[in-house]
Amino acid sequence: MKNSEISVRSAEIISYYAGFVILGTSMLMIIPVVTAILSREWIPMLDFIISMGIAASLGLIFVLLGRRTKGHSASVQWRHGFAVAALSWVMLMFLCSIPYLLSGHTYSYLDACFDVMSGFTTTGLVLTQDLDHLSNALNMWRHMLTFIGGQGMVVLALTFIVKESSGGYKFYVGEGKDIALVPNVKGTARIIWKISIVYLLFGTLVLWIAGLLIGLNPASSLLHAIYIFESAWSTGGFAPNTQNIMYYHSFLYEAIAMVFFIIGSFNFGLHYAVWQGKRKEFVRNIEIQSFAITAFLASVLAVAALSKTGLYPDAVSLYRRVVFNVLSAHTTTGFGSLYARQFALQWGDGGILIMVIAMLIGGSACSTAGGFKGLRVGIVFKGIIADVKKLLSSERSMRVYKFHYMKDIVLEDGLVRASALIIICYMVLFGIGTLLGTFCGYSLADSAFEASSVTGNVGLSIGVTSASMPAVLKIYYIFAMYLGRLEFLSVFALIGMAITGVKRIWKRKQI
């Protein structure tokens, strides 16, 4: 009797908090509604009011179903946190895709869900058709999704809606952020938002001015600035154009985007440290070092490989077409300064391989970037070096190996193992994706490129992602983007809890 009471409680806890996350995100739809009104786009306005109504209703229903949780926040456990994150993301995928469906720019509900998951996970692969004729409201929404997804919907809800904060930390971790910047969770979430808002204002201003300089009119320059900044900062990679960043034909615009997407790929804890005056952190941090090394190597190797083809006549071309894309891939942003097919046709296997590796390594932990994360790569790498040194050194010496990440941390075996395990999970996800691609008829290089883009939440495409792609591949990609972004644990927890819950109910029926 007691057991079933507990399991019912878990469901209620999850429902309660997931409900708030859904409710909070649905409230954000007011922004596209306002955009639609200001742009006199009446049908999109209705689309968003409908979507908002549905989402808010569902969120409230979830909260009401779990209402007994109110006042009992102490009973929230880690697994609940993970499950809430995982469940919210799935529910929100179905709800936030309604505006796309109503707009008529997606061929199916599946395509709409794909685009939403692509946005939330800051991937950036696109199945929406005819981007150049999208309403301002829908464009505002698409780019907002990457910004919100990058920050984290759970983080969002925690900051602004949920009054109780004792269980809060557990939700926070469930969404892939594990840096406790300050003792309390709400404070941490607020700081993340402050840094993002400051950059949002500054970045939008810079892009707006740049837009004016390259020939955009003031109103559209502002909109593009907002979209491109959100996309860069979140390392999403969406743009309001079919040609992505090539629409602007501007080195200046590309360079500014590069600066912001690189900064955006850094750990929030790093921003916080540097903004508090600990500027040395910027150089000593293991992730920055890891990124600087791998990004530099990947760029140089790619430039070497591509300059041999003789395709790009000068340094500026090499920089704009090669370095830009390599960095876009490595930070898992996904802005493309080349057409998708050009990677397949012009880059050769060497170039493609470099991109695949860069995309899988990804950006920093606790940031909007995807991939293995530089932290894990750095830890595993140092772990290997430490093991070799231990082997070679005398048995009497007891050296402690450390690395620097906000503070000096001991390189413990447990830590190395945990990092390596997650890297293995990513590689399995990538491997299955590549295999599935080849089963569907795509070449190995194409399948690997697309699979790494999906697994690392990058968004660059070699041409596989399209509306005519097999549905099974679309579904797998959605699943992989989701799993990759939440870093596996949340989803495993959700699945685990669901299975346990079902088992309990089954057992009760047997008695």
Binding site: I263, V274, Q276, A295, V300, A304, A315
Partner: protein, 34 residues
């Protein structure tokens, strides 16, 4: 929302750091373009 002096310097540090990195990469690209 107020920004303290440290926060502004922090912002500028991050931006300069990245610009320097990008600049070095450009210099290396120039080498290959010969």
């Amino acid at each position: 929302m107020r920004l303290s002096k440290a926060e502004i310097i922090g912002l500028l540090t991050e931006i300069s750091g990245v610009l320097i990195f990008l600049g070095i990469l450009f210099a290396v690209t120039l080498l290959f373009a010969r």
